[in-house]
Structures are given as C-alpha cells and as structure tokens.
Amino acid sequence: MVDVSTDGNITKTVGKLSIVVVAMFAFVFVVMVPLYDVLCDALGINGKTNGERYQVVESAIDSNREIRIQFVATNNAGMPWEFRPTDSVMKVNPGAANNTVFYARNPLAKDMVAQAIPSISPSRAAEYFHKTECFCFNQQPLAAGEQADMALQFIIDQDLPRDIHTITLSYTIFDVTAMAAANAPVAMR
C-alpha cells in the first residue's frame, strides 16, 4: 500500500520533527530561563537588581539633584522575624555613597536563616542602583532570640533618568533555614 520510498520519507519527516520536539523542550531550560534572567539583569525589568557587589568607580557627586529613596520591608509567609528599615526615607545625591541599616530579630527558640530579596520600583531604576554592601548578598543566619543590624551601602548612578525622583527599595525576607541546611556541609548550630 505504501511504497518503500514513501516509508523512507516518512521516517525522515518523523526524525526531523522529533528533533524539533526535543529542541523545544531544551529551549525552555537552555534559552528561556537564562534569557529571562539576562534580560531582567540587563534591562532591570521587574526591578531585580543583580546580587553582585558593585565595584566602585570614582565619580563626582551631583549635588544639584536629590533623589528620594524609600525603604520598605516585607516578611514572606511563615517568616516571624521582626524586620524593618531604620530609615524609612533618605534623600541622596547621585554619585554619593550612602549607608543605612535594616534591623532584624529572630523571636523564636530555634536558629534560623533568612534570605532577603530586593526589588526596586520603578523597575527601570534598578540598573542605576548600585549596592556596594548589602545583607541581601548572603543568607543571614540568626540564632534563637538573636538580633542584628544589617548594613546596606549604595550609590545611585549619575545616569539615572532625569524623570525619576523617587526610588523604592523593597526587601522581602524568606525563611531559607531548610534550604541552607540542605546545602550546607557544616551543620547549623
């Protein structure tokens, strides 16, 4: 009914299509996920700042321009720590180095580890918000009842678009005690 040459053609068609199927599956992991991260990083979309320490480049301070920085803290579900910014609002000049502190306390009877995740609004400001020191770079362990003042040092880039006057930096803390225990070779106290 179906001659041999058609059979061979069918096999070729099936072969090519199967490659497409596998390629599209791989596309998700190899292209979509990394591309999403790359684009977010490069364009500062959805306000993700990269977790990298900014290498300070000497630059002049623009004292004619004042940017309002708001600090906001959120606890993720099941995270009972007390967590708040000590400064709610700071007024800074682009190019200047600034310091602030976030206060955290673990009220429970067990040791815990937190991860603070930053998010910036407006999202296009993210690529101009340089952190030279941030408690969000690392996981933050706090023993039972322990409290800490966690440092944030940052510089606003001079090239921040002129129409941005207020930047909101939000931190959400997550309980990563289990994640940290799974990854850590050394047992937590």
Partner: protein
C-alpha cells in the same frame, strides 16, 4: 421583497439600539449598581480616558459588526436556494483581499494612538504625593502609609461580612462581601503611588473606580498610581486566584477631604506610637514573671491550676507546648483551640499582657525554659496570621 427586507432590518436594529442605550447609561454611579452593563469612568482622569477608549472601540466594533453581519444576514435571507437563487461561481479577487486587509489595518492604527497615549499616562509617575505599600496576604490586604520620618502607619484590612451571611443563615447586608474592618483612607485630589507586593502567592489589587489593577507578586514590588477627584467610598476585589478565600478579600477605599484625612492619619499615628513604645520595650525576665503571674491568676488559673497542675485544662507544668516552640505557644494563647474551652485569648489580652503570661508559663512550675517573650513577638505573630 425589498420593503420586507427593510422592515426586517429595522426590526433587527431596534434591540441593538436599545442595548446601546442601556450600555451608555448604566454606569454613572461609582458603586456598581444592579443590572450594571458597562464600565464606569470612575473618579479619576485616567479612568475617564480608559472609559472613552473603551466606548470608542465598542462603537467601532458595532459599526463593523452592523456592516459585516448586515451583509451576512442579507445574504442568508436573499441568496437562498428556496428563493430560486442560482449560485455564482466567483471565488477569488486579489483587489478585495487587499482591501479588507488594509482597511482593518488602518482602523487598528487609528485605535492604537489613543491607546498608546493612555498607556503612557498610566505609566507616568511624575509628582506623586503619597506612597502606600499594599501587601496581599491569604486572604486580606495590608496597607502601610510610608512616612518621611519613619512614622509609618500599617494595618490589616479584613473582610467584615460574617459567616452567617455567607452561609445564608442571616440576610445579606448592602455591602455583602465588599466591606472591611479597616478601609484604606486617601485624601482627595492627591496623586497616590501604590507599591504592591504579596506575602505568599500572587494576588491582584483592583479598584475599578480608581482605575487601578496591579498584580501583587511575592518577593517583588510593583507600582501604580491613582488620583481620585471625588470624595466617596470605592470598592474593589482581589483579581488573581490566590487560594480558598480569593473571593473574600475585598478592598474598600474612603476618599475624603484633606483635613479629614490629616486628622485620621494623626489619630492612627498616635495609636501606632503607643504600640511602638510598648513594642520597643524589652522587658526583663523578672519583670515578665511578676506581670505574668498576675495575668495567669486572672485568666488561666481556673482551668490550669494554681501550680500549673491542670484540671479542666491541661497541665502547664511540663507541658509540651509551654516547653516547646515559642511560635506554637503564642499560637495557643492567641488562637486557642476552637471547639474547646481553650478560648482565643488574643482578643481578650493585649500584647503586653499576653507576652507576660506566656513568659510566665514557660518559666514557672519547673518549666525553666529561660525564654522571654516580648510584646513585639505577640504583635508580629498576630500580624503574620
């Protein structure tokens, strides 16, 4: 034949006109009305622009629909075999294909201009005057007014409709499912910036009259803004499936005159300061033991015994709860055990007294845990619920 077709056409047109009439009048009030068929312009300029755009598109679609469906139904009635119609045999025309590709394309371009303008307006955050952090929780909203001096005011906004109304035991109130215990209060004629995030899953903050809808994503912050031009009460709902009570976490916004807002905010700040002063206080173990014993003898002794030996209630001495996880112990004190004699004392004891009595329980009767529970711990626990 011809006049019959014309009569039919008029007959078909009248309900269309009726519908359009209803559409344009149904939505003048800010609060959604029964039988409301249309979007409302709301109380903002952007909302009015959105409404205009919406009406323009509807009219364009109506006109296209009348022409296209008119042609189709005309054909259905005229080009019938039963009327003796003989089928033509034309089956292609490049000119016609080009025409009905280009014309819709042009119509779309025309629509794109006002749509772009309105979108750019929505993304224009110039000159915002007030910042409010909106956090979606399962299943309620938290509002925090961000203050320049760190005197933030924060509170939760929970659905106020009771279970008896929901389960049809009582009659339903006028604002069934759209009423809350603590509404968001805003000053009129002020451009308010909303920072939207979430505590757990994705929620979405939607108030139609303020022309605002923004997703609340856990770990990320979104921004949107609104400038209400009229005082009043505006209601909205969560607009992203977020679990069991997605339909039960409404939003109520009171837009008031500036002076009313100022005095409301001042009152809230006084309350917040009071709590903060207590929260900031870190009591010593001795202070908590003394205060806690008083509270224990007032509230707990009847069921749990003078020496923590139990009775109607379980023993506190050696109790796995009083010597276990602090979180679990606070939970027991605040929420009790529904359906038993152990009430939810969170409603009866303020955070200072609750912290004291729990500390007392953890250290008295031989428990000797060495823990001190502070008022801020109880406060945080309640906030996180």
């Amino acid at each position: 034949m011809h006049s019959q077709a014309r009569r039919l056409f008029k007959l078909a047109l009248s309900p269309v006109l009726l519908l359009l009439g209803l559409l344009s009048t149904g939505a003048l009030a800010e609060e959604a009305q029964r039988w409301q068929m249309n979007l409302s312009p709301g109380v903002t300029e952007v909302g009015a622009e959105i409404y205009e755009l919406h009406m323009i598109v509807i009219w364009i679609c109506v006109v296209i629909g009348v022409v296209v469906f008119g042609a189709m139904f005309y054909s259905v009635f005229t080009h019938r075999k039963s009327k003796g119609a003989k089928p033509a045999d034309f089956h292609e025309s490049t000119a016609v294909e080009i025409a009905w590709t280009v014309v819709p394309f042009i119509i779309l371009i025309v629509m794109a201009f006002p749509a772009t303008k309105t979108l750019l307006e929505v993304y224009n955050f110039e000159d915002t005057e007030l910042d409010i952090l909106v956090t979606g929780y399962q299943w309620k909203w938290k509002y925090e007014y961000i203050d320049e001096n760190g005197e933030n005011v924060a509170f939760f906004s929970n659905l106020r409709t009771g279970k008896t109304e929901i389960y049809n035991e009582d009659g339903k109130g006028e604002h069934y499912l759209r009423e809350v215990d603590e509404p968001l209060v805003l000053p009129v004629n002020t451009k308010v910036r909303f920072l939207v995030t979430a505590n757990d899953v994705i929620h979405s903050w939607w108030v139609p009259s303020l022309a605002v809808k923004k997703d609340a994503i856990p770990g990320f912050i979104n921004e949107t803004w609104s400038k209400p031009l009229k005082t009043g009460v505006y209601r909205g709902q969560c607009a992203e499936l977020c679990g069991r009570d997605h339909g039960y976490m409404p939003i109520v916004v009171h837009v008031v005159e500036q002076d009313e807002y100022d005095s409301w905010l001042a009152g809230k700040k006084v309350k917040a300061a009071k709590i903060k002063s207590l929260m900031d206080k870190q009591f010593t173990l001795d202070e908590q033991m003394v205060a806690g014993k008083t509270v224990y003898n007032q509230y707990c002794v009847a069921c749990h015994g003078v020496n923590g030996e139990g009775g109607i209630g379980n023993a506190i001495a050696g109790s796995s709860i009083a010597t276990g996880d602090i979180y679990g112990h606070i939970d027991m004190g605040v929420n009790g055990v529904p359906g038993t004699a152990m009430q939810a004392f969170g409603a009866q004891l303020n955070d200072v007294d609750m912290a004291a009595v729990l500390t007392f329980q953890r250290n008295a009767f031989g428990n000797n845990m060495g823990d001190i529970i502070q008022p801020i711990d109880v406060y945080n626990f309640k906030q996180g619920q």
